[in-house]
C-alpha cells in the first residue's frame, strides 16, 4: 500500500509544477488575498450596480402576469415576435456563413485581394447610427441612390422599399450584415491562420481540394469556434436596436419592429414602461439557453481566437 501511494500521487504534483502553478496551488493568504480582493472589487461593484440591480428591477417590473396577457392580445407584439425571429434567424446565419466563406477568399495570396480587405473593413468602422441613416436615405421614396442606380443601369423604377414589410425587413437585415460581416470575417481569418499547413498538405495528398477540403478539413476544425461565434452573434443581434430603428424605423406602419424597438416604443413613446420591460423579458426563454450552451462550450472547448 504505502509503496503505491507515492506513485499515484506523483503525476499530480508533477503536472501541477509543469503548469507553473506554484502560486495557484498554495492557498491565497495575507497580502496576496487582500490584493486579489481589491483587484476584483471594481468588477464586482460594476456587476452589482449595473447588472444585478437593473436586471432585478426589470424582473420586478415585468413580473405581473397581466402584462403578458396584454402583450399576447396585442397583434403588434405577435407580428414583432415573428419579425424578431426572421431578423435574427436569417441575419445571423447568413452573416456567419458568408463571413466563413469570405475568410477563405481573403486568405488567397493575391495583392489585390489583400488590398480589398481595407474597404471591406470600412463598414465596421463606420458609426452605426450614421451608416443606418445612410441606408435609409439610399432607399427612401424612389429617389435614393439605389433607385437612381436601378434606373440608370437597368431602366427600371425601384419599388417603394419601405412600403413593403418583406422588403423593409430585408433591408434591415442587409444593413446589419453590411455592418457586422467584416468583424466576423476577420475573426475567421485569424482562426484559419492558426490551422497548420501540414494538415492541408496531407489533405491534398489524399485528394481533398476545393469544396471537399472546405467540407472535410477546414469546417470541422472551425466548427466549435463557428458555433460559439454564431451564439454570441445571436445574442448581439437580438439586442440590436439601432438598425431597425434607423433603417426602416418600423415602416410600413410599425410592421417591421423587433423586440428591442417595440420595447422602446412601449416604454418611451406610449409611456407604458412595464409593458416595454415585459416585451423585452419575453426574449429571456431564448436568451438563457443560449447563454448556458455558451458557458458549457467556453469551459470545455479551447477557443482559439
Amino acid at each position: 500500500m504505502s509503496s503505491t501511494q507515492p506513485v499515484l500521487v506523483a503525476p499530480d504534483s508533477i503536472s501541477a509544477k509543469g503548469q507553473g502553478a506554484s502560486l495557484g496551488r498554495r492557498r491565497l493568504h495575507g497580502a496576496d488575498l487582500r490584493w486579489a480582493i481589491a483587484f476584483i472589487a471594481p468588477y464586482a461593484a460594476v456587476f452589482l450596480a449595473f447588472v444585478v440591480c437593473p436586471f432585478g428591477y426589470a424582473l420586478w417590473m415585468g413580473a405581473k402576469p397581466a402584462l403578458y396577457r396584454d402583450l399576447v392580445s396585442d397583434p403588434l407584439y405577435l407580428m414583432t415576435l415573428v419579425n424578431t425571429i426572421i431578423f435574427v434567424g436569417l441575419g445571423v446565419n447568413l452573416k456567419m456563413f458568408l463571413a466563413l466563406l469570405l475568410s477563405g477568399f481573403f486568405l488567397r495570396r493575391r495583392w489585390w485581394i489583400r488590398a480589398l480587405l481595407v474597404p471591406f473593413i470600412l463598414p465596421w468602422l463606420t458609426a452605426t447610427a450614421q451608416a443606418c441613416v445612410s441606408f435609409h436615405w439610399m432607399l427612401i421614396d424612389q429617389r435614393g441612390l439605389l433607385d437612381g442606380l436601378l434606373t440608370e443601369f437597368f431602366g427600371i423604377d425601384g419599388p417603394i422599399w419601405f412600403n413593403d414589410r418583406v422588403l423593409a425587413l430585408g433591408w434591415d437585415i442587409a444593413a446589419y450584415i453590411w455592418k457586422w460581416m467584416p468583424f466576423w470575417t476577420v475573426i475567421f481569418i485569424a482562426a484559419r491562420m492558426t490551422i497548420p499547413r501540414d494538415i492541408y498538405d496531407a489533405a491534398e495528398v489524399d485528394g481533398a481540394t476545393g469544396v471537399r477540403r472546405f467540407a472535410h478539413v477546414t469546417f470541422p476544425l472551425l466548427a466549435n469556434l463557428y458555433l460559439i461565434c454564431t451564439l454570441v452573434s445571436t445574442l448581439w443581434m437580438l439586442g440590436d436596436f439601432t438598425t431597425v430603428f434607423l433603417v426602416s424605423s418600423g415602416a410600413p406602419a410599425l410592421s417591421t419592429d423587433v423586440l428591442a424597438t417595440l420595447g422602446y416604443r412601449y416604454a418611451f413613446a406610449t409611456a407604458k414602461p412595464a409593458l416595454g420591460v415585459a416585451a423585452v423579458m419575453s426574449a429571456l426563454p431564448l436568451l438563457i439557453p443560449i447563454a448556458i450552451v455558451l458557458m458549457r462550450r467556453l469551459r470545455t472547448g479551447e477557443v482559439q481566437l
Binding site: 476584483i40 460594476v46 440591480c53 436586471f55 458609426a127 497548420p196 499547413r197 420591460v277 447563454a291
Partner: protein, 294 residues
Amino acid sequence: MSATALGGPARRRRRPRRMAVEAGSVILGIALLIWSLLPIYNMFLVALDPEEGEIEFDGNLWPPSPSLDSFRDVITQEARYLENFWQQFGNSLFIGLFTMILTLLVGSLASFAVSRLRLGKASLLTNTALLTYALPASLLIVPYYAIMHAYGLADNLWAVIAAQVTFATPFAIIILQLYGNLIPFELDDAARVDGASAPQVYLRIYLPMMAPALAVVAIYAMLLAWNDYLYQAVLLSVRHMTVSVTQGQLFEDVDAEWNAMMAAGIIYVLPPIALLLALRRYVAASLSTARVDD
C-alpha cells in the same frame, strides 16, 4: 520527355479551371467592393451636395455641383442642429475614451486577480461575464433609465459610460482570460522570488505582456461606445447631446440639413480609424503568431 508527355494533359485540363477561379474571384471582389462602399459613397453623395434641400434625393448618382460647404458649416458650427457640434463631438469623445480606459482597467484587474493570483474559481468570473452577455444592452434600457435616476446620474455623461463599461467588460474578461493563458506563469514566479508584490507583477509583467489583447479590448470598447445610439438618446437630454444622437433628428424634422448631418457623420468616423491605426502594430501582433494558408 516522357515526364512532359504525362504532365501535359493534366496541366491543360487544369488551366481553364484556374482561369475560371481567377475570373470568379475578380467578380466576387468587385461585388464586395460595391457592396462595402455603396452606403459610404451615399454618405459622401449627400454630404457634398451644396443644397440643404431635397436635391440629393432625386436619384442623382453623383452630386451635380459638389462642394465642401457642408463640411465648412459643420466645422464652423453654422448648420442647424449642429450649432454645438464641437461640444457634441467632445461629449462623444469623452464617453468613448472613458469607456475604453475604464473597461481596460476593470477588465484587466479582474482577470489578473482570477487567473494570475488564482482568486477562487476562474470559471465563476467567466460565467458571470457570460451571463451579462446574455442580456443584450438594448433590452435593459428601461430599468437603466429608472436606476440612473436613483443613482443621481440622470442626464449625466457618466451614466452612459457606466452602461457601456458594463457591457464591454464581459468581452474584455473573456478575451483577456483566453490570451492570458498563453503567458507563462514562470514569469510571475520569477518576479515573486525577486520580491515583487502583486501590483508590481500586474504593472511590470502582466500589462506589458498583454499589450496585444489589451489593444483589441481597447478598440472593442471604444467602438461599442462610439456606435451606441440608444443609451445616449435615452439617458442624455439635449443639453448633453452627442454626435450619434443628432442622427435621430431623422424623425423630428425631415427637412434638417442632411448634407451637414452626413458631413458630421463622416467626421465622426475619423477617431476610430485613428485609434485603429495607432494600435495597428499590437493588433497585428495578436494575429501574426500564426501562419497563412492559401
